[in-house]
């Protein structure tokens, strides 16, 4: 099924907005979304599945006397179904309660330019080409180490497009591509099994290296064998990309959302201009990052995405806003209204949370550590306390660092602390920046992390 064209997407949204206004809405907004995804999946050492998913739909927000309603439908071929969704949205608005702080949908602004977010080659990949790439990844993993079982993974290619129209004159369209290849592995030896290890490439352009992903996923699993327990004490911990993403996602990335701050759910409230992190930490929320996984011309409300300073040299500079939370403070939205697709209303989320990298190579970073832990992934990060920043998680897979060298895998080590102390204790940033979903960051060295072993 061919993708809907820009004109088709816009007219769908426009028709819904016009119908809502005609039926008595004070304001209206329509968000059209289309996602076309082809995947080839690996399960237990073989390619055994492939799929094609076509998902399109329209979400309609209406406002009646300062009360908001929302409805969505995925039946786009019928005008009656779209009109019914508009009426439901309006009915919901009328059933809801007015919000005195509602200040309207955003107004039209010049849309930002973005780079490297669309690649025609990704749309044109055939199932055979994807199968070939997946086999390359699988064979590379198997060749690397006989003890490794590729548990699951695969390759997925997506085309995504969105259009937004509102009654304040916003009319925008954007489309982009995404390609992912990933492999999860375990290694088995004499009855023992490692925790799941994981490697992936996730890109907007067709620049993936399935062979390298296979090799690295296998290398990790093999080196996670023969894990030993560790003594309980505080030590240096290097958070690799994935572990850092897990740690920050449920804590720091929550604390910088304006709605959390306004609702007293953030430990960073009232701390703008204060030192909240190590001098070497500089963070931007960069919605325009070249080739960023969350780079789009506009956010879920049609506001242009932008680069927003969050922390500069350890000092808190700002928070991220959608139109509603910005309006409450008489500010402009920072373009951080995120939509998970047409069935959801926008909410404040980071775009590309960018930690500016340092100078040292990961090898140099490890080389200077007398005793520490290198952590690739965390188990249980979602059980952190988002309000206080406290976490208590398992580091797995993780490796012990002794006298500048990675010596052996570690099992069952827990890390406990508060993320707002953790970011003060960052002493080094490596130069190996990488995109891991919403985080773009290098490896980070943190001093004095409480490690609970046995």
């Amino acid at each position: 099924m061919a993708a809907l064209k820009e004109g088709e997407m816009i007219s769908l949204a426009e028709a819904a907005v016009n119908y809502a206004l005609k039926k008595g809405a004070d304001e209206a907004e329509a968000f059209a979304y289309e996602g076309l995804t082809t995947t080839v999946a690996i399960e237990r050492g073989q390619i055994s599945k492939s799929s094609r998913i076509i998902d399109r739909g329209l979400g309609i927000r209406t406002v009646f006397k300062k009360a908001a309603g929302f409805s969505y439908t995925n039946i786009l071929t019928s005008k009656a179904a779209v009109e019914e969704a508009v009426l439901k949205s309006l009915k919901s608005a009328k059933a809801s309660k007015p919000d005195k702080e509602w200040q309207g949908f955003p107004c039209k602004k010049p849309i930002a330019e973005v780079k490297n977010t669309f690649d025609k080659r990704i749309c044109e990949l055939s199932p055979e080409e994807l199968v070939k790439a997946a086999s390359t990844m699988l064979e590379a993993a198997e060749k690397t180490d006989k003890r490794v079982l590729p548990v699951e993974g695969g390759i997925g290619a997506s085309y995504l497009s969105k259009a937004i129209v509102n009654s304040n004159g916003v009319t925008s369209f954007d489309c982009g591509t995404l390609i992912e290849c990933s492999l999860a592995t375990v290694a088995q030896e004499s009855g023992g099994v490692t925790p799941v290890c994981f490697e992936f490439n996730l890109e907007r352009l067709y620049k993936i290296d399935p062979e390298q992903v296979g090799v690295e996923a296998a290398r990790q699993a093999a080196s996670a064998l023969k894990a030993k327990r560790i003594e309980t004490r505080s030590m240096k911990v290097v958070f690799a990309h994935f572990a850092l993403q897990q740690l920050l996602h449920y804590t720091l990335m929550e604390a910088i959302k304006a709605d959390c701050v306004q609702r007293n759910q953030s430990a960073l409230k009232g701390k703008i201009g204060e030192k909240v992190a190590s001098d070497i930490l500089t963070v931007y929320d960069d919605g325009l990052l070249e080739g960023g996984l969350r780079t789009w011309r506009f956010d879920g409300e049609g506001v242009p995405q932008q680069k927003t300073p969050i922390i500069r040299k350890g000092v808190l500079e700002g928070f991220i806003y959608d139109n509603y939370s910005a309006g409450k403070e008489g500010k402009e939205s920072t373009g951080n209204a995120f939509r998970a697709g047409y069935p959801s209303t926008p909410k404040v989320e980071v775009t590309n949370f960018h930690i500016v990298p340092g100078e040292k190579s990961p090898e140099e970073l490890i080389g200077e550590i007398d005793e520490g832990l290198l952590v690739y992934s965390l188990q249980g990060a979602h059980s952190s306390n988002p309000a206080s920043g406290e976490f208590s998680v398992v580091a797995t897979p993780a490796w012990k660092i002794e006298k500048g060298r990675i010596t052996h895998a570690v099992k069952g080590a827990m890390l406990a602390g508060n993320v707002f102390d953790t970011i003060k204790n960052i002493s080094e940033l490596a130069n190996n920046e990488r995109k891991t979903w919403q985080l773009v960051a290098p490896w980070v060295l943190v001093e004095n992390v409480k490690v609970i072993g046995k």
């Binding site: 099924m1 082809t38 908001a68 608005a93």
Partner: protein
């Protein structure tokens, strides 16, 4: 009419494209969602989704397609695409997929709610959620925020396969999650509760705004005076809510046959003792009204009560038709798909530990110093058997009595080692609703009685 179209699609897959097996799942889903922040309705939402999932087996490889439409032409395109995809995938196949036999079934399953959420007005739903928010916010001045999400899902799911099964099932889920935060000086606390039912909107007659609201608010406030636990190994007593998440996360996932085959620590343990003899664990899809119950799974297999561990011995796993064939076992009705956008995979239903004979007092009386963990906040397991369960409500046990509350604790360890260290199981029983993520979301329940674990690693706070 839809039935005829589905028939045509299946015939085409088998006759024209040479599929060994084909199935279609056509769904019409209606959702109502609310988000309440403090006493404000952020948005009242209602939506409709129509779609079809097609799954076929060609040359031993799966092809899957999902289309958000019942349009006959779109479905014909999708099935021919899925067959091509499956053929491409089969090129590198080492061991072709086969399915265990399953009896052909024709049935129509009706939901029979006392209060049908699809016939309950949105004003009523807004009223109920706002009432909860009011109870939470008025509980104590230190409560700073309250967020409530509400969802109800109704509709029908029509399943047909090339072996003669045709099942129409009405779907009904009512769910709500309530978050509260409290603050005093620099201490932030956080509390969460979930409500979930497949019976109907009448769940709010039992879990009334007063009962739920107070439970959430009291915990957030009580935690303000809590201390951080010591890190290290201690004896603990786990409440039914924590036992449930432990059974689900630490053991249940390892007993999902797809993960067992992927090398989970249960791989060579069938028929062997893996836990102390006081432990019996079930995964049961047949408990009336429970959040994880249904009559047929998304491969058309009847749900059943599956015994996983009996008196410490692993006696069963959770299967779909593919893994049941590999293990030479019966399918258990654990194949579930969140909606038509995704394929069915092995998921839990209502997973619990069976009660025994101890009272709560007997469980705590012998503990000089340890912890009582009453309510969880998240949990996660790994194939090697490492588990982590976060705790949102916990207390010290000092000289056999419940002492000061502790906050932000978590427990971790190796599942099988920990199951051996369970030395006493209580006689009470609770089942708690929740949602489980495994690439897609499934509605489940977890539970059990209070239990005592002679030692477990406790991750302390900062």
């Amino acid at each position: 009419m839809l039935k005829d179209t589905l028939h045509k699609i299946l015939d085409m897959a088998v006759q024209k494209f040479g599929a060994e097996y084909a199935e279609v799942r056509a769904q019409k889903l209606f959702k109502t969602m609310l988000t309440i922040k403090e006493e404000k309705v952020e948005a009242a939402k209602e939506g409709i989704e129509n779609g079809v999932a097609l799954r076929i087996l060609v040359n031993g490889a799966w092809g899957f397609a999902s289309v958000g439409s019942f349009d006959s032409e779109a479905l014909v395109n999708a099935i021919s695409g899925a067959c091509k995809m499956a053929k491409a995938a089969s090129l590198r196949l080492k061991s072709p997929i086969k399915l265990v036999e399953s009896k052909a079934i024709e049935d129509h399953v009706e939901a029979k709610p006392r209060k049908d959420p699809s016939k309950t007005s949105i004003e009523d739903k807004i009223g109920t959620t706002l009432a909860i928010a009011k109870i939470v916010l008025n509980y104590d001045s230190r409560i700073k925020s309250c967020t409530i999400d509400y969802l109800d899902l109704t509709g029908t799911s029509c399943f047909m396969n090339s072996e003669g099964t045709f099942i129409e099932q009405e779907k009904l889920y009512v769910w709500s999650r309530i978050f509260a935060t409290a603050k005093e000086k620099d201490v932030f606390t956080f509390s969460r509760e979930e409500i979930g039912s497949t019976a109907g909107y009448e769940i709010f007659d039992v879990e009334t705004p007063e009962i739920v609201g107070e439970r959430v608010a009291k915990r957030a406030v009580d935690q303000l005076r809590a201390k951080t636990p010591k890190g290290g190994t201690f004896p603990v007593v786990l409440g039914p809510n924590v036992v449930g998440v432990f059974v689900h996360e630490a053991f249940g996932h390892l007993a999902e046959a797809d993960l067992t085959l992927s090398g989970s620590v249960l791989m060579d343990k069938l028929g062997k003792k893996v836990a102390s003899e006081v432990i019996t664990i079930y995964d049961d899809g047949t408990i009336e009204g429970a959040f994880g119950s249904f009559k047929y799974d998304d491969e058309g297999v009847p749900a059943q009560k599956t015994l996983l561990i009996k008196d410490g011995v692993v006696v069963g796993l959770m299967h779909n038709r593919e893994t049941a064939q590999k293990f030479n076992a019966q399918p258990t009705g654990n194949a579930r798909a969140e909606d038509f956008r995704v394929e069915p995979i092995i998921r839990m239903r209502n997973t619990f530990m069976a009660p025994r004979d101890h009272s709560f007092e007997e469980l705590i009386e012998g503990i000089k110093f340890g912890y009582y963990f009453k309510s969880f906040r998240g949990g996660q397991a790994n194939l090697d058997g490492t588990f982590q369960v976060g705790v949102q409500e916990g207390y010290e046990i000092v000289k056999g009595e419940i002492g000061m509350p502790v906050r932000n604790a978590s427990i971790s360890g190796n599942t099988l080692e920990t199951l051996y260290k369970v030395d006493a199981v209580g006689r009470d029983f609770e089942l708690w609703p929740g949602r489980c993520g495994k690439g897609q979301t499934a509605f489940v329940c977890d539970g059990g009685p209070h239990i005592r674990v002679s030692e477990v690693l406790v991750g302390g706070g900062a």
